[in-house]
Symmetry: C2
Subunit: 234 residues, 2 copies
C-alpha cells in the first residue's frame, strides 16, 4: 500500500491541513464492507449497499473509489500485501521447505475471504506496483522450494508458479460454505504428497516462469480492455 505521505511535501503557498482522521478510517471501513457484502450477495452487489454497510454515504464511496474497478483494485493491492506478510511470517519460522509451502497454502486458505474477490475476479492489475508484488511473492516461494530441494523434502520439477496456480485454485474455488475447509485441506494434503512423492516426476511442458504468467495477464487485460461491453467478472 502506498503509505499516504505524511503532510504532503509542504507547499508554502497554502499551508496544507492534515487530513481528517475519519477519512482514512472510512477507507478501511469501505474495503471491509466491500468484502463482506460481496461475499454475502455476490460480486455485483450495488455500490450503494457497500456504502450503507460501511455506514457512509454513496458520495463518500465514489470520492475514494471513482468506480467499481477502483475499489477492486484497492482490494487487489491489499491482497498482495497480505500474501507478502504471510510469506514473511513463514520465512521467520525457518522450517523445512515442504513445511513452509504447507504453511503457506493453509494460511492462504484461512484468509481466503480476502483473496477470493480481488484476485482474478477480473483481469489482474498491471500497475508496476502490482507486477512487483507478484514477482516478490514468486521469489519468496521459490526460495522455499529451493530450500525444500536442498533438505530433501521437495522433489525437483515443481516451481513457484505451480504453487501459485494451486493456491489460486483452492482460494478461488467456489465457496461450499464453512464445510469447504475440509475438502480444501485434503487437496492441500494431496498436493503436498505429490511434492514429496517420487511419482512420475516429469510434468508436461516447460516450466512456467513468472514472465510467462505476466505475459498471459497482459494479454488477458488487453483482450478485455478492447472488449465492447461491461466485462466484469470472468
Amino acid at each position: 500500500m502506498t503509505g499516504t505521505n505524511e503532510r504532503t511535501g509542504g507547499s508554502p503557498a497554502s499551508r496544507p491541513r492534515r487530513p481528517r482522521r475519519d477519512a482514512e478510517a472510512n477507507r478501511e471501513r469501505l474495503l471491509a464492507a466491500a468484502v463482506s457484502a460481496m461475499l454475502r450477495e455476490g460480486r455485483n452487489v450495488p455500490l450503494a449497499a457497500i456504502a450503507a454497510e460501511a455506514g457512509v454515504g454513496v458520495g463518500t464511496l465514489y470520492r475514494k473509489y471513482p468506480d467499481r474497478q477502483a475499489l477492486m483494485h484497492a482490494l487487489e493491492h491489499r491482497a498482495y500485501d497480505l500474501l507478502i506478510r504471510v510469506l514473511e511470517e513463514i520465512e521467520e519460522l525457518e522450517c523445512p521447505g515442504r513445511r513452509a509451502i504447507g504453511e503457506y497454502l493453509t494460511r492462504c486458505l484461512e484468509v481466503r475471504d480476502h483473496l477470493v474477490l480481488p484476485l482474478r475476479g477480473a483481469p489482474p492489475l498491471m500497475t508496476a506496483e502490482a507486477v512487483r508484488a507478484r514477482r516478490t511473492i514468486n521469489r519468496m516461494l521459490d526460495a522455499f522450494l529451493a530450500r525444500g530441494r536442498s533438505d530433501g523434502t521437495i522433489r525437483a520439477g515443481v516451481n513457484a508458479t505451480d504453487v501459485i496456480v494451486f493456491t489460486t485454485l483452492i482460494t478461488q474455488s467456489p465457496p461450499y460454505g464453512p464445510d469447504w475447509r475440509l475438502p480444501a485441506d485434503r487437496q492441500i494434503a494431496i498436493f503436498l504428497g505429490a511434492l514429496a512423492g517420487d511419482g512420475p516426476a516429469d510434468l508436461p511442458g516447460p516450466e512456467i516462469t513468472p514472465d510467462d504468467v505476466e505475459d498471459a495477464f497482459a494479454a488477458q487485460a488487453a483482450r478485455t480492455a478492447c472488449g465492447p461491453g461491461p466485462s466484469r467478472s470472468g
Copy 2:
C-alpha cells in the same frame, strides 16, 4: 404398440399439434449463445445480448427461460449430461484406473467452457434430477478409483469426492486465457502423481461422502435463498 399412430399420448379433446421444429433449435441456439456471451462479457451479460447473439428476440428467450436462473439451470443440466457422457466414453476404454482418472480430468479441461459457468456460479441445483446426476458421476468415478486400487495404479485414501473437488478446481479456476491450458495440465500431472505416489497417505479428516457434499449444497442453497438481495455469482 396398440394400433393407432404415435402422435404424443393423444388427448381426444384438442388434438395436440407437434411442436414447431425451429422452437427446439432456438433453445439450443440460446444455450450456446449464453455460454459464448457470458464467457466473453462476464456472467451478468444482459439477457438481451444473449438473445441477440442467438439471433432471436428477447421475447423468445423469456418464453423458454423465464428468468436468468432458469437459463443457468438449463446449462447446469447440460453440464451434468456432458460429464456423464464423458465418463461413459472413458468406461468403454477399459483402461487402468489411474489412466481413466487422468482421461477424465483432461477431457473436463477440454470442455471447460461448458462447465465454468453453470457449475458453481451459483448454489447448485437441488432438483431430484440434478442430485441423481451428481450421484451417478460420483459412482462412476468411484468405480475407476476402485479399479485403480485393484490394478495397483492408485493408492488408497483418495475417493471420488476428492477427484470431483479437484475437477471443479481446475475447471472453475479463473480463465488465464488460452495459455491456461499448460498450467492446468501441470496441476493434473501433479495430482496424478499424488494418486500414484506413496507419499504421506493419510489425508486430513474422514473421507468426504457424496452425502456430505449434498448436505453442504443444500445448506448453501438454503442460505442464499433466504438472503435478501440479488445473490448471483458467488
